[in-house]
């Protein structure tokens, strides 16, 4: 990391940066208020699954927001970024009005800036480490909005820049799964000069970015542009290919693949194992969101059906629960209800998602936990029985533990229940690789620094290692795996 902080220093000392710093006194910068993101009106946006809620910043808004950044000597924001983006550099390019340079800076570090600018929990990462948050107790620089602005500006300008890649070294490597971990890995490995192929089991590239996150939060077209960028850099994509099944790891080695990165994600949905959970009308959030996001089941010309509830209960308090409940509203539900066993303060979802859900008329039944689903005469779900909870002592996660209030049980009428209580690692790929060391939770065990597994040529990252995390943590894993795979292959093949 010493190298990187040296580079940061040198770049900060560049004449244009010094000039910008001197142009506006810090006391003036401090007095500028954080920008407000323009949002689609709640009553308008709930009519469409594809109407993006956040509208993005205008160039003027972006430059003004960027001018709040004081270009700190010691930019702590970067420490909060799992992929170590040179944040002050891209922010200052925006302040200077050099938006394409800002976009190019982002692409040095991240394969998916337009995605990260939309779905990263910046409030827990870079923005949490911002000087404004840390030392001034003020609203941080809106780094996330600015990232999105730069990426969107570049895309809309039609002047999309393809990052430079090293000369091909002829060594083939494979990424398994095409979600954020693998894409980030692929972006770095192609820059290092490898022949990179990304294998995806589904018929679309993008993993959770496509099947999971709804279009009102992350349009598929935005993901496609980032994928196209990787394609232009030289990354190959093979869809409809289950590594271990369509071809074995041995088959791929025979085809010349020297090393593998497993980023197959945490595909397996968890259920609560309560009575009535297998009734028709009770499904996982993965199923519900996949039907809508990947299969377009909400559109009349799609062959895939989806149940449209009038009264929909979504169990869980994470981002996926918010995605599912807000989707149900857009599919015409009269009542869409979040059922969560703790209180709003403990919800793992981003505050922004909770706020958007509230604005859209989502009901919240907090401190309630399903204990049974009850059927109607046709065997479809008709009611959910809820155990009321109260908060007790903090548990291992530091959040106050929900405890049942004895005898306080209520029933509510529903016709669709969506279970969004987390996912487990998908066993499909690891099961095909003999000798791969797994944890008791079904995750792949890796060296945390190098992301290398018990099999030297196999690296892994993202949810298959973490068990359920965020897009950006997965991307950080992909980057670290790429760096250490590069070291491994350099030594092995005397590059």
């Amino acid at each position: 990391m010493t190298d990187y902080s040296e580079i940061l220093k040198q770049e900060r000392n560049a004449a244009w940066r010094a000039e910008l710093r001197n142009a506006v006194p810090n006391k003036d910068r401090i007095n500028i208020e954080r920008v407000h993101m323009t949002e689609a009106e709640p009553h308008e946006r709930i009519k469409s699954q594809t109407c993006e809620v956040n509208k993005g910043l205008t160039p003027d808004q972006a430059r003004r927001e960027a001018s709040r950044c004081m270009d700190c000597v010691n930019p702590t924001c970067i420490e909060g970024c799992p992929v170590s983006i040179n944040i002050p550099k891209f922010v200052k390019y925006i302040e200077a009005g050099h938006f394409l340079d800002a976009a190019a800076t982002l692409k040095e570090f991240s394969a998916l800036p337009a995605v990260c600018g939309r779905v990263c929990p910046q409030e827990k990462q870079c923005e949490a480490k911002c000087f404004y948050t840390q030392k001034m107790k003020k609203d941080p620089v809106a780094i996330g909005y600015l990232e999105r602005f730069a990426a969107d500006y570049e895309r809309e300008s039609g002047k999309i820049q393809v990052p430079k890649v090293e000369k091909r070294n002829g060594i083939k490597v494979a990424a398994i799964g095409s979600g954020p971990a693998s894409l980030s890995f692929a972006g770095d490995m192609i820059k290092f000069g490898y022949d990179v192929t990304v294998f995806e089991a589904l018929h679309e590239i993008g993993g959770v970015l496509k099947y999971g996150i709804p279009e009102f939060r992350l349009p598929n077209a935005i993901v496609d542009v980032e994928l196209d960028n990787l394609r232009q850099m030289g990354v190959n994509f093979e869809k409809n290919f289950v590594v271990g099944r369509t071809a074995s790891f041995e088959d791929l080695k025979e085809l010349g693949y020297k090393s593998f990165f497993i980023g197959s994600g945490a595909g397996l949905p968890n259920f609560m194992n309560i009575p009535g959970e297998n009734l028709n009308g009770v499904m996982s959030s993965n199923e519900y969101l996949t039907r809508v996001n990947l299969m377009y089941a909400n559109q009349s010309d799609s062959d895939t059906p989806v149940l449209r509830g009038k009264c929909v209960a979504v169990v869980g308090g994470g981002n996926t629960a918010m995605d599912a409940v807000r989707t149900s509203k857009r599919l015409g539900a009269e009542r869409s209800i979040i059922i969560y066993r703790r209180s709003r303060d403990e919800m793992p979802a981003r505050l922004e998602e909770i706020k958007h859900a509230e604005e859209e008329g989502i009901e919240f039944m907090n401190l309630a936990n399903p204990i049974e689903y009850l059927p109607n005469a046709e065997g479809r779900v008709a009611k959910v029985r809820l155990q009321r909870m109260k908060l007790g002592e903090p548990d291992a996660s530091g959040r106050r533990k929900p405890v049942p209030i004895e005898g306080d049980i209520v029933e509510i009428d529903i016709d669709l229940a969506i279970v969004a209580i987390g996912v487990s690692p998908n066993p499909l790929i690891p099961a095909c690789l003999a000798g791969l060391k797994m944890s008791k939770w079904g995750t792949i065990e890796v060296n945390e620094q190098t992301m290398q597994s018990s099999i030297p040529e196999v690296f892994a990252g993202g949810d298959i290692v973490r068990g359920g995390a965020t897009v950006i943590l997965a991307m950080g894993d992909g980057r670290r795996a790429a760096a250490s795979m590069h070291d491994y292959l350099k030594n092995r093949y005397n590059l």
């Binding site: 089991a201 589904l202 018929h203 099947y211 869809k239 409809n240 290919f241 289950v242 099944r245 369509t246 071809a247 074995s248 088959d251 595909g267 397996l268 949905p269 259920f271 194992n273 959970e277 297998n278 009734l279 028709n280 009308g281 499904m283 996982s284 993965n286 199923e287 996949t290 039907r291 299969m295 377009y296 559109q299 010309d301 799609s302 062959d303 895939t304 059906p305 149940l307 065997g379 998908n426 066993p427 499909l428």
Partner: protein, 247 residues
């Protein structure tokens, strides 16, 4: 590549058109030389209709596999294989594999009528005996598949059964073999979306536990399956399917 990798019991998922549905189908046969696989599909709904409407030379938009766990092929001695309707198709590679493993294989095939009976010739090639049952008596003998199967069980020692067909047929096949305490495998045709363990649409209760047909199956111990729940779950999208057929 699927032709080379597939094993008896594996399935594929295919999709036709940009807004097409993901359809799971068990692989019937393959030709490694030509790199082809054989699938058999009955034209019953909107998506199977689209597949059946394709002409020679047309392309299937997406095809992925082989998926699911392969059948456990071994040599217990005598195998009784029961295939009903279009379920005869996925049964075929299993019969072939059990025969090649050195078992005595007795196959009972059932269909509504003579015209709907498939793969009889192929089944005869790998079966020591083939018994045919039709609902209307238009071919073979009139009666249910379980009638033909019970006769065999009463007549000789059967070590293992495998039954594939409509869920209701598998339910009664399971009840029959349970009565005689014969280990039985069935291959389930639950609703699926991704087919890779991601969605849980295909969940089924086996021995009191929820399993995913796509990754834990599709074959399970017939005596442990909650068939009534499965029959119910197969109707999850009945209204939507009826509407799609009308289009």
């Amino acid at each position: 590549m699927i032709a080379k990798s597939r094993k008896p019991g594996n399935f594929v998922i295919l999709r036709i058109g940009a807004k097409g549905e993901r359809i799971p189908l068990t692989i019937v046969d393959s030709d490694i030389e030509k790199g082809t696989i054989t699938l058999i599909v009955q034209n019953v709904g909107a998506s199977s209709g689209k597949l059946c409407a394709l002409e020679t030379g047309d392309c299937i938009t997406d095809l992925v596999g082989p998926l699911g766990k392969a059948t456990h092929i071994h040599k217990p001695g005598t195998i009784l294989a029961m295939g009903g309707g279009v379920g005869i198709a996925p049964l075929y590679p299993i019969v072939e594999a059990f025969k090649k493993a050195g078992n005595r294989v007795i196959t009972v095939l059932a269909a509504r009528n003579k015209d709907l009976l498939i793969l009889e010739k192929e089944m005869r090639e790998y079966s020591d005996e083939v018994i045919i049952m039709t609902d209307d008596g238009s071919y073979g003998r009139k009666g249910l598949i379980t009638d033909g199967a019970e006769e065999v069980i009463k007549r000789e020692k059967v070590d293992e059964c495998v039954a594939i067909g409509p869920a209701i047929m598998m339910k009664f096949a399971a009840l029959l073999t349970k009565k005689y305490n014969i280990p039985t495998q069935v291959s389930l045709n639950t609703i699926m979306v991704d087919g890779t363990g991601m969605c849980g649409a295909c969940r089924v209760t086996v021995n009191g536990e929820t399993k995913f047909t796509c990754v834990d199956g599709p074959e399970f111990n017939a005596h442990q399956i909650d068939f009534d729940e499965m029959l119910q779950r197969l109707r999850a999208y009945k209204n939507e399917e009826d509407q799609a057929r009308k289009k």
